[in-house]
Amino acid sequence: MSFSVERWTRQSVFFSGGIAIMLLVLAIGPLIFSAGITDHLTTLFVYIILAAMWNALAGYGGLVSIGQQVFIGLGAYALIRLSDAGVPLYLALIIAVVLIGAASLPLGELMLRLRGGEFAVGMWVLAELAHFVVALDPLVQGETGTSLDALDAFAPAAARADTYWMGLALMILLLGTLFVLLRGKIGAAIQAIRDDEIAAASVGVKVHAAKRVMFVLAATGCAAAGALWVTTTISFQPHAFFGIQWTAYMLFMALVGGLGTFEGPIIGAILFFLMETWFGATGVSYLIGLGVVALAFALFLPRGIWGFAETRFGIRLLPVGYFLRL
């Protein structure tokens, strides 16, 4: 019997080429798009980062956290602090992301000792704790918050374009890192853990090491999203950045798109972005709708849109896994 193992299918070659072309177009975005579209795309980049990072943790690492907003808030706060200390804005943004990413390493050591629901709620308590401690900072002035004054030095168009490029670069960097990780040795470990943690451990997969990598990546990504978000909204209010609503959004995007798939959360983020654009103005009804859709997917289509499409039609647009041809 002859067989071959292939990673690149004709489909994924075409699709990856398409992605490359699209990224090239996006790279010159601010030069060709209107101000409104540029802003919208920056928002979308942040959503895609959030969805992909939450999925890295939950979908691949098997760790559901309802407290990832701790890193969103800390990323934004670190940027505010650094910028206040006189560090140039976009340099401060990068340092803030690196700092919070580094801080997540010892935090992960502690939190990863917890299992399942304990980890989930433990992370939330961490977020609440960070929220109230940050609010004690005189610069933040409690719930009143503060603003990113360094942005005043930029012309609005320049700030818009720079933030866009920063967002695009961070999105490519973070998703690229996840992609490379998934294709490498650690990716095989992570996907084995996703499918069955105990079985993976029993064949020698280093479960804890793999989870630690996902935790730090997800924390770094959320810090990036938080720092980007504060450069788009300018004002920093603790409850807006440390709020549980972020978890609702991330959960929605990752779950609806497809937990444990690379492409799914991107689709989920685009869908969430569209829903917010169309229905966001309806306020509470919109949030109820998000909850209903997320619940429906959890109950009836737990692998999400992309997970369903992948198994149903055997498509794989990005070459993360392998195909066995008999």
Binding site: L114, G116, W124, F132, V133
Partner: protein, 298 residues
Amino acid sequence: MNLVNQVLQGALLGGFYALLACGLSFIYGVMRIINLAHGSLAIFAAFLLFDFANDTNLSPFIGLALALPAMALVGVVLQFTVLDRSLKSGPLIPILSTFGVAVILDNGMFEYYGANSNSLGPAIGDLAFNSWNITDTLYVGQLDALIFTTAVVVLGGLSFLLARTGIGRTIRATADDPAIVELIGVNPRVVYAVAVAIAMVLVGIAGAFLGMRASFAPYDGGNLLIFAFETVVIGGLGSLWGTLIGGVILGVSQNIGAEISPSGFLIAGHLVFLVILIARTFSTGSILGRLRLKRSAA
């Protein structure tokens, strides 16, 4: 002296936390699910009683007698529509689905009731503020004493139910191994429904006292869930009497924290919780750890 009083008030607050937490602990003990909609359901129960008190002008205690069967029904519905299906799809899905339920409930109540804070305090008259003074600065509120006593009675009753009755034994056996009890003719789904119904009755009682002792608003469910969860973890996951110990530790820490700074109430509670949570993973030989092992059947 003020500090002593704060500790006393904190310990009494612990009784409320124990009531709030035992339903969460119970569902976890039986089904291994942390119900993230727990706090929102307590708010829901408080609103049920609030509507009843407003519409009828009868005592909330009469309302509670009617609300408890309603909450049990909510539990049965929750089990058969959400939890049962979630359990089949692996350990992650119950976390996601109960979070979804919480989002729907919170925003649904906000849409229906608005942002205002409500209270059952006015409906219970003197009980809301009468107290026994021990010294000039030391006092025990009558409502707080009632809540603490109720917590002890409820925990005792629950322990008795689990240890001495047929349904209690069935619940414990199902918690141990749902596949095995099926072999002897027990339907785990029905047992789970009973367990969730019991938990929702407990949530109903907690919601009633929540409304009587303080004000509540549609988005308070999240905080309640955190307090309940902290109580459960401090006392030892799955341990019923542990929730009373956990509640007292949490309440005392919060009240001491509040003495230090206005936001110290929450910060101190969260800190104590995280320290105990992490410390617990390093050692199982603590007093709380031993309690947990002894009670793990519950």
